[in-house]
């Protein structure tokens, strides 16, 4: 036996392992989580903590049942799922309900498909869809920020034409933009504060953890199509869960396409479906379902849309006299 270690190249590795990537993602979610707590009160913390606890316990249980050893990445990924789930639901949700959602996300959406790296759908969003179908009334009860009273979200108001009138016709609509930007509006716990989300997103972009193509194509598509429909594009970009969805959900590594071209298609598809649901569908908000639908298309996109490999489709200049 040689005293030297024999391995194949490369002999050095990056320090950015999956655990570190997920840790950074958690940090990036913190500004929005803090903003949500300030806006919607202490129940936000209760929801996030109970969601994370349920997710982590389910993760350990599932790994144990599947006879797998838990690695740090598994646990961190469960924390992210739990945190994201709490951020895409209303702060009026009872704690046990979000725990049910978390258990569904980890056990059915993630581990039934093979665990970390193999799930087809984003676990947090699929769990949100599951909760919306199971408890439709509570899941669409939107507390107003700094207030215990409840009301409709801006997008729901648009559906009833009330807010669109106010935006289009009233001189005070700059104020509405500002409210959307800081997050002082009805909506899910972590989706309302655009500024907090952008801080987290900038951190992820700088660290190279998310790719710019998906959020950019997603948001631009929503802006462009809503402008075509004659609606206010700035409002539609900032309202609802678009910023959260575009930067934190659609970029979920596991459920997005791998190729560069595929990522553009994915982002544009998410944007188009979001607008279609917002304008024509039965729900006021479409981001969640848009991403879930495009998640379903991801394997197909990966199969048929690949990037051009270096040197493919390049002409051999043999016998070509022009170059001498």
């Amino acid at each position: 036996m040689s005293r030297f270690s024999i391995t194949h190249a490369p002999h050095i590795r990056t320090k950015d392992d999956s655990t570190r990537i997920m840790f950074y993602t958690i940090i990036a979610l913190l500004p929005a989580a803090i903003a949500g707590t300030c806006l919607f009160g202490m129940n936000s913390i209760v929801l996030m903590v109970s969601s994370i606890i349920a997710a982590v316990i389910t993760e350990y249980l599932m790994l144990f049942m599947r006879g797998k050893k838990a690695v740090p990445a598994d646990v961190f990924s469960a924390v992210i799922t739990g945190m994201l789930l709490a951020m895409v639901i209303t702060s009026a949700t009872p704690w046990w309900m979000v725990m049910m959602g978390s258990i569904f996300a980890i056990s059915i959406v993630k581990h039934a498909f093979g665990g970390l790296g193999f799930n087809i759908f984003n676990p947090a969003l699929a769990a949100r869809a599951f909760m919306l179908a199971s408890w439709p009334v509570i899941m669409t009860t939107w507390p107003k920020p700094f207030d215990m009273a409840t009301g409709a979200t801006q997008l729901a108001l648009v559906k009833s034409k009330a807010l669109e009138m106010s935006i289009m016709n009233m001189p005070g609509h700059i104020n509405t933009y500002w409210q959307l930007f800081i997050g002082s509006r009805g909506g899910s716990l972590g989706e309302t504060s655009v500024i907090a989300l952008l801080i987290g997103a900038a951190f992820l972009l700088i660290k190279g953890i998310i790719d710019w193509r998906i959020p950019v194509s997603f948001i631009l598509t929503v802006a462009a199509i809503s402008a075509l429909f004659g609606a206010d594009p700035i409002f539609h970009v900032m309202a609802g869960g678009l910023v959260l969805g575009a930067f934190f959900m659609a970029t979920d590594p596991v459920t997005k396409p791998m190729g560069r071209a595929g990522r553009w298609i994915f982002g544009i598809g998410c944007g188009a479906i979001t607008v279609v649901i917002r304008f024509l569908g039965g729900y006021p908000e479409g981001v969640c379902y848009a991403i879930l639908i495009m998640n379903g298309f991801t394997p197909l996109i990966d199969r048929y849309v690949t990037d051009r490999v270096y040197g493919h489709g390049v002409k051999n200049r043999k016998n070509d006299k022009r170059h001498n």
Partner: protein, 418 residues
């Protein structure tokens, strides 16, 4: 700044030997000269017991892609048997016991590149005379000398550019005349500005260009360098000559010029000995010197050596024994300390896309590795595995520590075996 698509920035650790002058390594007591050092394996031309001189031909082959090997010491042939080869296998080699006199054979006037035994000195070991005789129909307009030296730790080309810039440029002029090309470029990464200035000074009397390229791995890959400098792509499965280029290492140009000047074949080269050794150095080494002799020359190991690599940390090959001799194409002896050697367990892919985004040839390494791991080698080949340049970036960046490049190499090997 001229560059290519993809690639990564690494920690270079070149400060260990950068700027250190080239010094002559001690004459080895026993030189082990492999008969396989680029192209087909040579047939031995000497017998056990024969006296040999420096520069004497030890083996040659009648195969098209081959180059002869020569003795780097004078003395007596003691054995012709299998020896550990730098590529990790064993192969037939000529053992020569040195008499320390370094008696040389007479110089050959106008020695040909083939007779001088010159191969690609950047690590490729492709016989140089084949590259310089492009087959019919190829019009070469540009010759690029590769002084990028993009692998971490290695500084042998850097040292050569600092000390022999004129010889390198003269070698390039020779190549340009041989293939009647118009344009000559010497490319240097922008972390070696001193070498760039030396080259710039050396080309001032000629119409050769010295070009800075971005410090990014694998800038020194020929496909990447051609794209960075000329924005041309080498066709899939082809060679740079298919798009009118020849890419050659600065060391190769120097070796060609030196053999022309002295009439002597290639018997020595510059090698960086670095990492966990007491005195990291750039050494002028006789081909066939064992790793152990070079490490002793550099003051021995420091710390707890855990890996000995011939080549750089990204593409180099680990050695199980210090008895392995260096070859004509060996650039570096790298010793890694225990604390730098980490073993990882492969986890499942989280599809983060880092391998896709950094691949310098725009492959999807994760899918290729998936196919290979599931014995679907045909599928891996269909998706471009043969275009892989084996730079190792995908394995380097993988956050789940998958051995991506290893799986792709496996698919390529299965294909080549057929």
């Amino acid at each position: 700044m001229k560059t290519f698509k993809g690639g990564i920035h690494l920690e270079y650790h070149k400060e260990l030997t950068a700027g250190k002058p080239i010094r002559d390594a001690k004459e080895p007591k026993i030189a082990v000269i492999h008969l396989s050092q680029g192209g087909a394996i040579c047939q031995p031309l000497v017998k056990v017991g024969d006296p040999v001189k420096v520069g004497q031909k030890l083996g040659d082959s009648d195969k098209l892609i081959s180059a002869p090997v020569h003795s780097s010491v004078s003395g007596k042939v003691t054995a012709i048997e299998n020896a550990p080869h730098p590529n990790g296998t064993v192969s037939k080699a000529v053992y020569i016991e040195s008499d320390g006199k370094s008696e040389k054979v007479g110089p050959i006037m106008n020695i040909s590149v083939r007779e001088a035994g010159i191969v690609g000195m950047g690590g490729g070991a492709f016989p140089a005379h084949i590259k310089l005789n492009p087959t019919m129909g190829h019009n070469i307009d540009t010759v690029i000398l590769n002084g990028a030296e993009c692998e971490p730790y290695i500084t042998c080309d850097h040292a050569l550019m600092l000390e022999e810039p004129l010889s390198i440029v003269e070698g390039l002029v020779g190549i340009l005349n041989t293939v009647s090309a118009k344009q000559g470029i010497v490319a240097v990464e922008d972390n070696k500005l001193d070498a760039y200035r030396k080259i710039k000074g050396a080309v001032s009397q000629t119409n050769i260009k010295a070009e800075l390229v971005e410090t990014k791995y694998p800038q020194g890959g020929e496909k990447e360098l051609v794209y960075a400098l000329l924005k041309r792509e080498v066709p899939s499965g082809g060679f740079p000559m298919d798009i009118g280029c020849i890419v050659s290492n600065v060391g190769t140009a120097h070796a060609i010029n030196r053999s022309q000047k002295t009439g002597m074949p290639l018997t020595e080269r510059v090698i960086t000995v670095t990492g966990a050794v007491k005195n990291p150095s750039n050494l002028r080494v006789k081909v066939g010197t064992k790793i152990i002799d070079l490490i002793e020359d550099c003051g021995g190991f420091s710390g707890n050596p855990k890996k000995v690599i011939l080549g750089g940390p990204m593409m180099g090959i680990t050695q199980h024994t210090l008895e392995t001799p260096v070859a004509k194409c060996t650039t570096c002896v790298l010793v890694l300390d225990e604390k730098d050697v980490k073993l990882f367990e492969e986890q499942s892919c989280i599809r983060c896309c880092r391998c896709v985004d950094t691949c310098p040839v725009q492959l999807m390494p994760n899918f290729l590795a998936d196919y290979s791991q599931n014995d679907m080698f045909e599928k891996a080949i269909d998706n471009g595995a043969m275009d892989c340049i084996e730079c190792g970036i995908c394995s380097y960046v993988c956050p789940t520590r998958r051995e991506l490049v290893h799986w792709i190499k496996l698919a390529k090997a299965k294909r080549n075996k057929k």
